[in-house]
């Protein structure tokens, strides 16, 4: 049934929803201190050096873009940041503390992510997907889960309330009770973002959030990411679509063959000849192909 529904016009989340959510989540400290940092991160698979001494830092309230040609090590770097990989050398720190080496603990510490190829829980409703995101912030032991006492109900109510607000935030209220697998493609991406936001992250890592989207949807996603920043969440985006990155991010990092090639404001990066060379070093049609094809797996 969802396929037949007319797409309502996509726009930025209404201001009052954002304000309310920001109050609930209480993430912004307004300090603009560095949150997420990596120092000399290298990653070696067998004989292959996928990352070489990557150092970067993400300040609070910042949107950073991570670009680079296929095979540049973007996803590998992402996986190092989220605890899926343990770097061969170097360190990743969150607010100065070393990043735990376990995806669940990373999320608990406040770093949430989405996946390049959407990985929702397909047979759960949109609301339930977001509720799973609340898992880590809910206080329910096995015993209270069993007895459904007043504390349990309070925490359930809170979680449902938050889920409702998050769905409103990403514009999916009308799909609240729909199974995730039945959602249109673009909305699945938005649901994944809502689910990630449900973990109250201070850092959100988005892996190609506009892959497969048309211009209108891409624009809506940009507005959404700005709104997420307004919640006080710092954002790192991997993306092929350089135009999207340059109009979205405060800072852009270019990764080429595992090395951090350039770092700077969109304007600086756009004008940097090394970037153009890195991208256009390959024949034009291959560049084209890279933009449409997936990341290295």
């Amino acid at each position: 049934m969802s396929e037949s529904v007319e797409q309502p016009e996509l726009e930025a989340p209404p201001g009052e929803v954002t304000a309310e959510l920001a109050e609930d989540m209480q993430i912004a400290t307004g300090t603009r201190e560095p949150i997420l940092e990596s120092a000399g991160v290298s990653m070696v698979f067998g004989g292959l050096r996928a990352l070489n001494e990557v150092t970067f830092s993400l300040k609070e309230g910042e949107i950073i873009g991570l670009i680079g040609p296929n095979g540049a090590g973007k996803t590998t770097f992402f996986n190092c940041l989220t605890g899926l990989y343990t770097p061969t050398s170097g360190s990743v720190t969150l607010r100065g503390a070393p990043m735990p080496q376990d995806p669940a603990r990373v999320t608990e510490a406040g770093v949430a992510r989405t996946f390049q190829n959407i990985r929702l829980f397909p047979s759960m409703t949109a609301t339930e997907n977001v509720l799973v995101g609340r898992h880590v912030r809910m206080k329910q032991g096995p015993v209270s889960s069993l007895l459904h006492g007043p504390r349990f109900r309070r925490s359930e109510a809170e979680a449902h309330d938050r889920a409702e607000k998050l769905l409103a935030f990403v514009g999916l209220t009308r799909f609240a009770d729909e199974l995730a697998r039945n959602l249109p493609y673009g909305d699945q991406r938005r649901l994944e973002i809502a689910r990630a936001l449900a973990t109250d992250p201070s850092v959100l890592l988005l892996d190609e959030p506009t892959a497969g989207m048309n211009a209108q949807e891409t624009e809506a996603t940009r507005q959404l990411i700005f709104a997420i920043r307004d919640l006080g969440v710092s954002v790192v985006v991997i993306e092929h679509d350089t135009k999207f990155i340059f109009t979205l991010c405060d800072r852009v990092l270019v990764l080429v063959q595992g090395e951090l090639l350039v770092e700077g404001s969109p304007d600086e990066v756009r004008g940097d000849p090394r970037v153009v060379e890195a991208y256009l070093g390959a024949p034009p049609d291959e560049v084209e192909a890279q933009i449409h094809a997936g990341e290295e797996s």
Binding site: M1, S4, V5, F45, N79, T82, L84, Y85, T86, D102, P103, A104, R105, T107, E108, A112, R113, F115, Q116, N117, R119, L120, F121, P122, S123, M124, T125, E128, L131, V132, G133, R134, H135, V136, M138, Q140, P142, S145, L146, L147, H148, F152, S155, E156, A159, R174, A176, D177, E178, L179, R181, R195, A196, T199, G294, E295, S297
Partner: protein
């Protein structure tokens, strides 16, 4: 719960009409096999249905068997005719008559989804006719038994079969509508009364099904087929009711009054001893069903919610039972102390839970099929160890016999009770206790399912890596599923030990694990009533069809294959979260595993 049902654009809503959607009969253009005859029949569908109904009734009143079968005429009079005894039909002929009458009435009235309803009725008539006809043929030794032989004629089954088929064909030709959706909302007390009536009807129906055909045995050789025939008739009636959308509506009403429904259902279950099924025999069977249902619910947590296949699950029932046996004061137990039953249940559950956690711990490293094999290995190790009387705790080949009955003061649970003039059968207290136990276990399952923990399990089942990325510590949570599931089985095991009075290793073999799994799958994975329904079916069918004991396992194996092929989601499909098994092939293909190499660590 669902006031905000979003509706599809095509919905036509009128304020007063109770029916939300009255699907019109789709234009009758059939394709595929039988398309020609069906299209030809389409304009005359109404007449066809009426004719089918009439034929069915006529069939019911004709003679069905030319022979007088050994144990008396099958199953009643073989040569009943309209003129001798117009109202003298009972049994399967009564069922056919009722289905036929309903066919005519529905065909003539303006009823939503008329053709779909009639088709259900027709299928019922057909099934009853085929079953009884085949049976008479086989027992009577040839087709002569249902046609003409030795100067007697008996075309009842054939006429009824034709009637049923004509009904089905005409209804199909008339075009099958979609199921209508009803939106009546009545005053709360009217709905309460309605639910009460429905649940009491279900209770009576269950009692009727259980006692249909008598208890079987040599004195009553037709019990099996009478039972099957009743099932066939009920299936037809059920299909018709379902087609009318009324069943769905009642389901919604009961959803609106959930607590009330649950309480009434529990009371109905407790009232079973007061019905015709209130015999010691059915109390014993029901208690066994209860033990297996409780265990299957535990398994449902592991398999249905968390998606972890366990092939050695019956071991936890066994561990619970052996613990209880050792603490029962039975002479053969090495521990030889007697602990009060309630405490025993707790200890059994805890011990089983500990073993559950141990068996579950490989889930930290092993996934999918391999995990299933690990659990199978644990199950086999348990059986072997129990057979070898490990540490003297299991009695080995001699088992632990003579476990005393559970007693309240001087009252033993296997004694019968008198409530004023009503004499309740022996074993009724076990029945009551197990109903309460199963209710408690269902509550546990339901509460867990709708909690943070339950959602985490389902998330793990759906996509373990994504679940981890949502902050779910998948390892401990999976072990918790094993632990809680095993505890429920341990509870049931304590009960099992006392009810059966002997605990032997051979009650906990691999086949029992497969039976439990089959119960969960048959009933519907991940649903609350599914495991109970599945366990009931797997126990009641062999009891009612003891004639086929030799083929029991063969049919069981084939049934598993057929269920997986045709209805993998089980009888009660999980509404929201179609269990992993129920996924459409296309979807499964779409959700091909992602490129994220999460295993490398």
């Amino acid at each position: 719960m669902s006031e905000v049902t979003s509706e599809s654009a095509s919905t036509t809503e009128t304020a007063e009409a109770p029916v939300r959607t009255v699907p019109a009969a789709p234009p009758a253009r059939h394709t595929g096999r039988l398309a020609g005859p069906l299209n030809a029949l389409a304009p005359h569908a109404k007449i066809g249905m009426v004719v089918g109904g009439v034929l069915s009734i006529v069939g019911a009143y004709l003679a069905w068997s030319t022979f007088v079968l050994n144990e008396g005429a099958y199953p009643e009079r073989a040569t009943l005719t309209m003129f001798v005894e117009p109202f003298g039909v009972t049994g399967f002929r009564l069922h056919i008559t009722l289905l036929g009458l309903a066919t005519i009435v529905v065909a003539l009235l303006r009823v939503p989804a008329k053709h779909r309803i009639v088709r259900g009725l027709g299928v019922g008539v057909t099934a009853v006719a085929v079953l009884n006809g085949l049976w008479i043929t086989v027992e009577g030794g040839g087709l002569g038994a249902i046609t003409a032989s030795d100067g007697t004629v008996a075309f009842g089954s054939i006429v009824a079969l034709v009637g049923g088929l004509v009904t089905v064909l005409s209804a199909t030709a008339g075009g099958l509508e979609d199921k209508p959706v009803w939106e009546w909302k009545l005053a709360w007390w009217v709905e309460w009364i309605l639910l009460l009536v429905v649940f009491v009807l279900i209770l009576l129906l269950v009692a009727e099904v259980l006692t249909s055909g008598g208890q079987g045995g040599v004195v009553n050789p037709y019990a099996g087929v009478v039972f099957l025939s009743l099932l066939a008739a009920l299936a037809g009636a059920f299909a018709a009711l379902n087609a009318s959308g009324l069943l769905t509506w009642v389901g919604e009403v009961s959803e609106r009054h959930r607590v009330f429904s649950v309480v009434v259902l529990l009371l109905c279950a407790l009232a079973l001893p007061f019905t015709g099924a209130g015999t010691e025999y059915w109390m014993t069977v029901a208690s066994n069903i209860g033990v297996y249902a409780a265990t299957a619910i535990g398994l449902n947590i592991v398999v249905g919610l968390a998606g972890l296949l366990d092939l050695g699950y019956v071991a936890f029932l066994g561990i619970g039972a052996f613990v209880a046996a050792n603490l029962s004061g039975a002479a053969a137990s090495v521990i030889g102390i007697h602990v009060p039953f309630l405490l025993v249940m707790v200890i059994s559950a805890v011990v089983a839970g500990i073993f559950g956690a141990i068996v579950g711990s490989p889930t930290l490293r092993v996934r999918g099929d391999y995990l299933a094999i690990v659990t199978l290995a644990f199950g086999e190790i348990f059986v072997r160890s129990a057979q070898n009387n490990i540490a003297g705790l299991t009695g080995g080949a001699n088992a632990i016999p003579n476990i005393p009955q559970v007693a309240l003061g001087s009252f033993q649970f296997n004694q019968s009770i008198s409530l004023g003039p009503i004499q309740l059968p022996g074993g009724v207290m076990y029945y009551v206790a197990i109903v309460l136990l199963v209710a408690a276990v269902m509550l546990v399952f339901g509460n867990l399912k709708n909690s943070r923990l339950g959602r985490a399990w389902i998330a793990i089942r759906e996509d373990e890596d994504a679940a981890a990325a949502m902050g779910i510590r998948t390892g401990p949570i999976k072990i918790l599923a094993f632990l809680i599931g095993a505890m429920l089985a341990g509870f049931a095991g304590a009960f099992f030990a006392h009810k059966t009075a002997v605990v032997a290793y051979d009650s906990f073999r691999f086949l029992e694990s497969v039976t439990l799994l089959a119960a969960v799958i048959l009933g519907g994975m991940g649903t609350i009533p599914g495991a109970v329904l599945g366990a009931s079916i797997l126990f009641v069918l062999p009891e009612k069809l003891r004639e086929f004991a030799d083929y029991r396992l063969l049919l069981f194996g084939l049934a598993l294959v057929l269920i997986m092929r045709f209805r993998p989601q089980g009888i009660i499909a999980d509404k929201h979260r179609k269990a992993e098994l129920a996924e459409d092939p296309e979807d499964a293909a779409k959700e091909a595993p992602g490129a994220l190499p999460t295993e490398v660590k």
